[in-house]
Amino acid sequence: MTGSSSGLGEAIVKMLAQEGAAVVVHGRDSVRVDVIVKAISDAGGRADRTLGDLTTVAGADEVCGEALANGPVDILVNNAGYYGSRGWLDTPEDEWLNAYNANVVSGVRMIKRLVPAMRERGWGRVIQIGGGLSQQPMASQPEYNATLAARHNLAVSLARDLKGAGVTSNIVSPGCIRVSAVEDFLTGVSERLGWGESWSEIEAGACRDFIPNDIGRLGRPEEIAAAVAYLASPHADYVSGAMIRVDGGLNRSIP
């Protein structure tokens, strides 16, 4: 699980560990990764760690080497990535390229290094964490939105390539989920727009003005993790090339 020392990745890796999977926690911050590994082990799960930057070949080689050290990888969850924050015309062209490398090619590096062995063993899972912005993009962070569309697309092309292999490729597409980066962002917006100071006021304001959805709140990281756990399990053997939206109805058209 790439990018699993915080946020969605943390919730996913904890839930899979709870279901008995041996997990490899990945991040770039050693202290944060160790906190997650320890939490999982303390709860009786099995967790290994790997550190590295997936935006380079050397980084990806190192991460996959460490990941494979204690056994084969059956399930790859491509979660790592970053979001931008600027307006459409204010986003420098270099950022479009950097975002593509960090959000798309990083996942490709992992797929290329880990999927052939899944194919050999005749069973595997590749799950992209995509996003609703792939299909319903905001005007801001346009480079990030486009990388999500690429993630969705490559999940389906990979599914085609994996025909007959026993390895499936799918997407979980989150809406707006309450992770600390989002909390910080919305708290900042609240200060500007005057939604209030308590989290429930901030969430209510966000759902009214920013992310109107049918559930009326932000999603919880565990709600993304549950969809990942479903796709990762043998119960989803017949699911490939599919996209599961977990967004409270934020995206307003049929998927």
Partner: protein
């Protein structure tokens, strides 16, 4: 995994066999009290007994939900079976006719009949069960659609169109239910094996000079459905997804429909 479903009550339409029956078994296994529905008393009783034998809670209500009278009978029976319904699985819905040789062979009446069976029947049940779910602040409306809704076969045009309408209903319903605790979602099965398909496999085999349904099945897998998964779907594939959507773990999912079709829809 604890699906957090203990004590919920579900109606699964068309659950005396196939996908519906498997949905009922899986939900019952998670502690859901299930109402089995179909038109055959023998089959309904058999599935109900099977579930009870392994410690599940099940009752059955006979009736054809594609007719107004049948639907009313099922609604009344299902409501009283366990004193309410929390989870409605709109599973009834098949093509009303076998596939045609050509799109243009489907008569106008078939367009109407398929819409009734695959769309209106579900809408009627939604009307009946949603108010009480809203009052209780929690509920599930789960529509079993089809990949034909989004990647239709030319010779099953009426069925695919009706399922496409059902997907649209799934989404509009989630808007209508905003903030109520009731969610609306759907799944799109691909080709799911049930014994009803054997006739189709034998016919396919015969057209290739064989009598063996297994030959026909392999021929279909190789030449007719273009999957990336090597096997046909099975009812359990659908039942597991229905169980997931029904669960409180899926509280944040609404308005969406996803594919369980072995990769047979080739688009993003």
């Amino acid at each position: 995994m604890d699906m957090l479903l203990k004590g919920k009550r579900a109606l699964i339409t068309g659950s005396t066999s196939g996908i519906g029956a498997q949905c009922a078994r899986v939900l019952a296994g998670e502690g859901v009290s299930v109402v089995i529905n179909g038109r055959s008393a023998d089959r309904a009783a058999a599935v109900t007994e099977e579930i009870r034998k392994v410690g599940g809670e099940a009752k059955f209500v006979l009736g054809d939900v594609t007719t107004e009278d049948g639907s009313n009978a099922v609604i009344e029976g299902a409501k009283s079976a366990f004193d309410g319904i929390d989870i409605l699985v709109n599973n009834v819905g098949n093509p009303t006719q076998e596939s045609h040789d050509s799109w243009f062979d489907a008569p106008f009446q078939e367009w109407i009949d398929d819409y009734h069976q695959n769309t209106i029947a579900a809408v009627r049940l939604v009307h009946a069960f949603t108010p009480a779910m809203k009052e209780r602040g929690w509920g599930r409306l789960i529509q079993v659609s089809s990949r034909n809704a989004i990647s239709p076969h030319a010779n099953l045009p009426t069925y695919g169109a009706a399922k496409a309408a059902l997907n649209n209903v799934t989404l509009s319903l989630s808007k209508a239910l905003a903030g109520t605790g009731v969610t609306s979602n759907g799944i799109m099965p691909g080709l799911i094996y049930t014994p009803q398909l054997d006739k189709f496999f034998i016919e396919t085999a015969q057209r290739q000079g064989s009598d063996d349904p297994e030959f026909g099945k392999q021929y279909v897998l190789k030449n007719i459905v273009h999957q990336t998964v090597s096997r046909l779907g099975q009812p359990m594939d659908i039942a597991a997804a229905v169980c997931f959507l029904a669960s409180p773990l899926a509280d944040f999912m609404t308005g969406t429909t996803f594919r369980i079709d072995g990769g047979s829809t080739p688009t993003v």
